[in-house]
Subunit: 216 residues, 2 copies
């Protein structure tokens, strides 16, 4: 990484390349999701990777041979990491990690979504999902900035298993999560989308970095 | 639908259009997944829809605003249905159903994956996932042909809630599931992929339909 930023920008916008070029110096990585990639093709990952690391947030949640194939699409296009769901079980996660290793890429396992629905079925087993992610040799987990106490809990679960894994935390900004609180709770990187790319991206990310000063 | 077939063909192959054209008269619908769509673009859904109904098996599993956007991509391209995960919670499923209704499309909720990993976290809550799917007004659920007793159990759960929903059942063929047993257990449609498109697709599907004779 070119800098010490702890901000990942979710490029869920139609002008993703333009935003990426503007904020490249201020971010740890870019995150892309299906709506953008389905519209622009996987070439958008290749193009974005010229401005920084790209995390393909494909929330992979399929049977192992399909999960492998999806991961391969992302890494072939130039992604540095993929996000996969732990809820679908160990075999899918292991398959994704296997593909990632071929490309020197990383895998982050979603253990609890930042949405309200994330409380229904994921939250009650999130600690177990962390265990599955650690055992599958994932590089990190995804835990919600909208519920910062869950970030601490899940990070501690990983530590108790003897692994210090990276925590990515979405839900900052438009979803209501507070960046500073998420980092203080143990997130390594926070993910913000609409609050960065809506309006003036450079001004927005500078304001966010200002807000985070003193935490590094 | 042009026929009474209860077979959905999963086109997880590079020659999807060719296979679709050959087997169109023998299938209820086609199912496409991300590896194909990421490679060919969403135009492949449009092209396939000329041969029959297309189910976009995107296993949508995101926060509501992203789940909506993914569904919209599928329906805009001409899909007649999407598959979404129920474990991510009611809000995401409701968002997907809302988009589907704009297009007169259908939503099927995955309640238990056909893989071994599907037993770890999904199976223990699968009956509750059916309840979430029914309450979100989904048109059907996805239950594994690899464990036919689960098809009956999940179909019965829906019935006990006063809703007779359609059950799609993947895992037939290469994954070990038996088509006839899945239909007898309550599946409305079985999903087969590799066992159809590997080799001679027409011969394969005719053999499968022969095997299913007397069940309609």
């Amino acid at each position: 990484m070119a800098n010490k930023s702890r901000v990942i920008v979710a490029l869920d916008c139609s002008n993703a390349l333009e935003v990426a070029e503007k904020v490249a110096d201020y971010v740890y990585a870019f995150k892309v999701n299906y709506p953008l990639v389905l519209k622009e093709g996987t070439e958008i990952i290749t193009k974005l990777s010229e401005f920084g690391e790209v995390i393909a947030d494909f929330k992979i949640a399929d049977v192992p041979h399909i999960s492998s194939a999806i991961s391969r699409c992302a890494f072939e296009a130039g992604a540095g990491a993929v996000i996969a769901h732990a809820f679908v079980g160990s075999d899918s996660l292991r398959a994704v990690v296997g593909v990632a290793r071929e490309y020197g890429g990383e895998v982050y396992a979603v253990c609890e979504l930042s949405s309200e629905g994330g409380k229904e079925f994921m939250m009650p087993v999130a600690e177990k999902l962390v265990e599955v992610a650690v055992k599958a040799d994932c590089d990190g987990i995804v835990a919600p900035a909208t519920r910062v106490e869950r970030i601490s809990a899940l990070k501690n679960t990983a530590k108790s298993l003897g692994r210090s894994i990276k925590v990515l935390s979405p839900g900052v900004g438009a979803q209501g999560g507070k960046a500073r609180e998420a980092l203080k709770a143990g997130a390594d990187y926070i993910i913000a989308g609409r609050s960065i790319y809506t309006g003036d991206p450079v001004k927005n990310i500078r304001n966010l970095l200002e807000e985070l000063k003193g935490l590094d």
